[in-house]
Symmetry: C2
Subunit: 389 residues, 2 copies
DNA sequence: AAAAGTATCGGGAACGTTTGCGGATACGTT
DNA sequence: AACGTATCCGCAAACGTTCCCGATACTTTT
């Protein structure tokens, strides 16, 4: 027979439906509803899960309160040297590791900066990461890196995750697909600092770290012109990205300055991908009146074109001049070396990181969103150095 | 006059010192000590800090309990369609973002995998990251990446941070300095899954993902021998790393098989750094009886040596054969292409990630620590293809 | 109509910290 | 005695979730 847990009555117990597939009873005497707990649940396994020592464990061990332990561990005042010593010793002995999750929850901060980059394959972003990483670790921050893989969808999903994980700030370089910026506006609304770098956009009120793309492109094209190239093609990036537009502007400005006609069928704006580079490269080289030089938006595209030209027996730099952008490691080694624009990758990372730290420290101060422009450098190698004439 | 907050007595109140610069009183009647709370503290500024909408806010807005909201948001049963709908709508309207920190705390899991790599500069680790990233995101996990910068101290610090942040599993490739493994044992003790890759070690009971370094080295050296090289030097990595030892073994085995004498002054074990490579390279090339081929532990060292040789006017591959390891991007493009060992970097990442997911799912099952060995491939290029004779 | 079953919801503990505020004691000074 | 000061420590409320137990109202069966 079943006894009522409340009035201990035995006779007046009746079934009263099910709850979560367990029989439910009611005692008609005291009108108390109840279910029977599984006896196999009361097995000796007290705490099945591996227990991590907590502040409370330490407190119990040496007979103080957990506030005291917390304060002792953090070197607060109001704790006697003896108590502090005892706490520290016990913590070491019990192999205490603080639970950052609990800390984060109560402090509403994570000491973590998020970083979203579109890709890892080129050397550019890894180098930016190294720079940012150095500054952030120095300041006691962690860096969580995600890659959007050049996909807008993934980028949005990444920002959501970052948001849910309550990062203290976000560093982001946009994908080539990104046209909508709602997912970034959220950070403004939430008051979470945000810094864009390299692949930036307008329409979002946040600091931006970029390089002087216009000048760089201008210099590159000017360099080609001064080396006697006339009909210079441009293989650019997607136009929704500011970098692409700036580089295009630089290209046009240089052409105009030196009175070169821009042949619009030799200006192509494409996606950043090896496959696309190959397609556009083939198109350019197969033109019946093909260009005598190409300024490409990045080194991998430039190299792709160089290889195709060499295959076709087109001599570089004599018959075709090539300039890339970014100075990838392989660019120095390919024969003839690829002339390119070196970007201060480490500096970009450092600057971005420093800026977000400032924003975090400046406690809601209304920092006018500004833009930092870092300087690039033209690295002249064989691919564009034509013996004059 | 001041009244006792406890007995409301007015006459028996006396001053009783200060606490935190505030006047303290005692009621002689009930012996109750107290201070007066500042009236200016009750200012209208309710919540100064920016408030993120929580589950509780939603609950209040539509008049249900937070348990209901939680269940509705997670698509649990026991919630009527109408309520669920109302909750979802209100959540969207209030722009609710779940607080992952609170979730993590209560669930004791973070859905985050940590990854510690020694460096970013070579293309190897970025590619491994790409592979691991793909698997992990697919499985709904985040990836937090840290770099130890080839420093043991930083590596230890990184593991501590990972531990404090309660990652669900760790993927790690050791630094070249790492000789002590206590910081990894902690993960075993805590029951946190751990997988080592590439730079692995013995002395730690965890799965390891490596490549067939011995075979690869053997094949590389054999290839040199078959191309007519006789006196082959080896520029290896630090011997505390298993990779270095395996590659050295492979080198020796190949030399022995073909009856070539290993000249011990031409076997150098150094650190992974460009500077060291330059020093050792100079040493090797300046030997009065210099080697006619070099098998290097990685491509950057190999390339460094190639450049030095070219400067000295040593012809490659005729006077000096060179084989590297890893197939960096630049290796395909340098002078005569660099013969090297291609590692399945993406596969390494994927395998490592898959394994840690298995460990997490397998709930404390005693998986015997095993080792997975992935296959490499010899990529023959110009630096070792000598016209026989 | 009583008994049994179903569907839907709420209360509240737990997760491990931090921290504001008050309590207790000890000792010195009027 | 009465009061002042300093030092050290504890209580308990957050932080935002999840989830175990129920509780309530209604429908269906006996």
């Amino acid at each position: 027979m079943i006894a009522c847990p409340k009035c201990s009555e035995v006779g007046a117990i009746m079934k009263a439906g099910y709850v979560r597939n367990k029989q439910r009873y009611v005692c008609k005497d005291c009108n108390y509803f109840f279910t029977l707990s599984d006896p196999d649940q009361t097995a000796p396994g007290k705490k099945n899960r591996r227990h991590q020592t907590t502040i409370i464990d330490i407190a119990k061990s040496i007979g103080v309160s957990n506030s005291t332990v917390s304060r002792a561990l953090h070197g607060h005042a109001d704790i006697s040297p003896e108590t502090r010593q005892a706490v520290l010793e016990m913590a070491a002995q019990m192999d205490y590791q603080p639970n950052q999750l609990a800390y984060n929850l109560v402090k509403s901060r994570t000491n973590t900066i998020g970083m979203i980059v579109p890709e890892f394959t080129n050397s550019f972003f890894p180098n930016v990461i190294i720079g940012a990483h150095e500054i952030l670790t120095e300041a006691g921050y962690n860096l969580t890196i995600m890659q959007s893989n050049e996909s807008y969808q993934v980028e949005v999903s990444n920002t959501r995750t970052m948001l849910a994980n309550r990062i203290d700030g976000l560093l982001i370089s946009l994908t080539q697909e990104t046209n909508n910026y709602d997912h970034l506006q959220v950070f403004e609304k939430r008051g979470i600092p945000l810094v864009l770098f390299n692949r930036v956009c307008d329409h979002v009120e946040a600091p931006k770290v970029v390089v002087n793309d216009f000048d760089a492109a201008f210099t590159a094209v000017e360099h080609l012109i001064l080396n006697g190239y006339e009909r210079i093609a441009h293989l650019g990036g997607p136009l929704n990205l500011l970098v692409s537009r700036e580089r295009l502007r630089g290209y046009r400005a240089a052409m105009e300055k030196y009175g070169k006609r821009v042949e619009e069928n030799m200006v192509i704006q494409g996606m950043f991908s090896q496959q696309k580079a190959r397609i556009y490269g083939k198109y350019l080289l197969d033109l019946e009146n093909r260009p005598d030089a190409i300024f490409a938006v990045n080194d991998s595209s430039a190299i792709e074109i160089m290889l195709m030209a060499l295959e076709k027996g087109i001599r570089i730099p004599d018959e075709l001049g090539v300039v890339g952008f970014s100075d990838n490691p392989e660019s120095a080694y390919i024969g003839p070396g690829l002339t390119t624009i070196r970007q201060p990758t480490g500096e970009i990372g450092k600057t971005t990181a420093q800026w977000i730290l400032q924003l975090i420290d400046s406690e809601e101060e209304v920092n006018l969103p500004k833009q930092k422009v870092l300087k690039t450098e033209l690295v002249v190698r064989g691919s564009s150095r034509r013996s004059k004439g």
